[in-house]
Each structure stands twice: as C-alpha cells, then as structure tokens.
Symmetry: C2
Subunit: 213 residues, 2 copies
Amino acid sequence: MPKQVDHAGRRHLIAEAVCRLADERGLEGVTLRDVAARAQVSMGAVQRCFRTKEEMLVFTLGHIGEQVGERVRARLVRSPAQSARTALGHAATEVSLLDEAHRAEARVWLAFLAQAAVDESLARTLRSNYAALQGVFVRLAAEAAKSAEGAGAAEGAAPFDPLVEARTLLALADGLTAHVLIGHLGPQEAREVVHTHLENLWECLSRPAHPAS
Amino acid sequence: MPKQVDHAGRRHLIAEAVCRLADERGLEGVTLRDVAARAQVSMGAVQRCFRTKEEMLVFTLGHIGEQVGERVRARLVRSPAQSARTALGHAATEVSLLDEAHRAEARVWLAFLAQAAVDESLARTLRSNYAALQGVFVRLAAEAAKSAEGAGAAEGAAPFDPLVEARTLLALADGLTAHVLIGHLGPQEAREVVHTHLENLWECLSRPAHPAS
C-alpha cells in the first residue's frame, strides 16, 4: 500500500516548524534544511510542499494570520451574548498578541511585518490578512455604535466612522505588540491602552455634542 | 600634518551608510565591508569607530531616533504659537514617518523594531528613544487637556490620563508606519486615523458627562 501523504497537513506542520525557527533566530535564519529537520520530514518532502523558501514563508505568514483570525472568531462565538463593545475590546486585545502564550507568535508576526515592507509577496499576504480582520472590526464597531444610539445617545453625538475606528484599532494593536516585545510597555499597560481608548470612544458617543457658542 | 579624523562625524557618516544599505537589503544584509564601501572609508576606519556590527547597529538606531526626535522638536519650535492640540497632532504624524521622504527611514525603523524583539541591546536603545518621545507626548497631552478645561469643559468630563494617551499615540504611530509600508493603508488614510482619534478625544473632553440615569 502506498504511503498516504496528507499534503495540506504536512504544509501546516512545516509552517509550525518555520515559526519555531523564526522565533529562535529570525526569518533570515530559516533554511529549508533546518525546517526539514525540525518538522522531522525529508528535504525532498519540504521541496514537494514548497518550491522556494519565499513560498514557504508566504504560506507560514498566512497560517499565522489564520490562527489569529480563528482565535478572534472563536472568542466571539464563545460568548455570543456579549455586547458588540465587549467583543470589540476582546478582538483588539486578541490581535495584539499580548498573552505570554502568544509571545513567540508576536515576534514572528513582527518579523514578517518588517520583512513585508521590502517584499511584495509577503505584503500581499499580509494585506489580505488585514483586510479580513478589518472586516470583522468594522462590523463590530458599527454594531457597538448602533447599540449606543439605541441606548439613547444624544442627538448631535460625534459622527462615528466604523472603518476609521477599525483601522485605528488594528494599527494600535500592532504598535502595542511591538512595544510589549521590546519592553517599552508591560502587557497590562498595553491592555489599559486598548481599554481606555474604547471607553473614551463609547463615552464620547453617548454624550450630547458641546453646544455651539 | 597628521590627518584630522572627526570621530563623531565619521560615526554619523557610517550610520547613514548603514541606513541606506538596510533600506536596500534589510538589516541582515548589512556587512562591515559594504558599509565601508558605501561610506567611502576603509574597513579599518569602520572598525576603529565600532568594535562589532552589533555596536554599529545600536549606534545607527540611536541616530535615527535622534533624527525623528529632532524633527518633532523642530516642528514644535517652528510654530510656538500653535495650540498644544495642534502640536500633538503634528508630533504624532511626524513620528508615524508617513511622508514619502521618510519612507526609507520608516522601513529601517521597522526592521530595527522587529530585530529588537530578539536582541536586548537594540531593545534597550529603542526603549530609551520611546521614553524620550513619550515624555514629549505626555507634556503636550497634559497641556492640551488643560486648555480644554480652561475653555470651559464641563464638570465631570471623562478623566484624562496624559500618560495613557501618550502611549496610545506612540503605539498608533508605529502601527500606522507599518500599515502604510505594507500598503494596507495610504498615507492620507493613516493621517485621517490620527486626526480622527485626536478630534474624538478633544470632543469628548469638552463635553459634559452623560447624566446618571
């Protein structure tokens, strides 16, 4: 009986090995040979999965993006009764990769982000990741703003643009990821930044505009 | 007459060469040999300025940080009559390195940020840069909030913490730098994010708190 090879499974296995190596030595230090050794497959098997190192890195980046997106969605599904506000806060914190458990993922993500600034195929993969996350954030922000209106936000409250808010949260999340990794902020301080930003926003949405003088 | 060597000047010259090379090929691609060629000095001269590549990178990172800090301060000095609000907006935009003219600097900064996540001596230099910038932002945010109070912000307006706001703006700036570099956002969209964030903040500070129901 021929050996069954689960191609998709093997690609994910290899992506995991790339992540661990990239976390240890940076993206530059990832070689096909070391990846094969770490994933416990042959060099040939790696080469059948990915024609080039570039292709392997692009797949790995997509793999991390999927994992983050999956965790955000899982968190939303787990607490369907939570308000859109709470959900948006959780999603922003999740994307910031502040948990100790996600520190390695955060380092690899930041390495990809920096590399994507000089590598168009990585940039393309990242853009599609951000577009998907942004979609989730826009939807949650719009729902949260709507429920603020429903709760009786005064007429003339500040105009609210869910797209701009989604962009703000995604940029804030990446900045916080980096600042925690280099030790400028502690994870708890970073959480406070997200929390305060959103609290101010909801407070502001629920207040009447300053009367024109 | 012995040749006069301006040691400090030469170090800055070399740092500029490191920046240009790092922009072209990433930090990993920077070798002492290529730096010497680019700076038009001998290998020996580079080695007399910096004992190791690490030391050269740390100096270069400090050099970029100084340039950014200098531009922020210059912008504040140039328009002393501007309000603290306006100044804070300008400072945040300046730090985001959104101008086309600063695109190379932004790429190198992001590369250093990612590398600092796995290199403690780079992280130490970055932290000192962020601490200095944060100091400027805290001062401007506190002044801006004070002038909002002076202008008659209602009692019970949302509590405002200049330190949290400074952290927010610095994280937002770095996130936006990255998102413009990878093409997720255009520079104008990034400026809109900073602008909207600050507008919401000032609006919120100048409004009376929602009456308790």
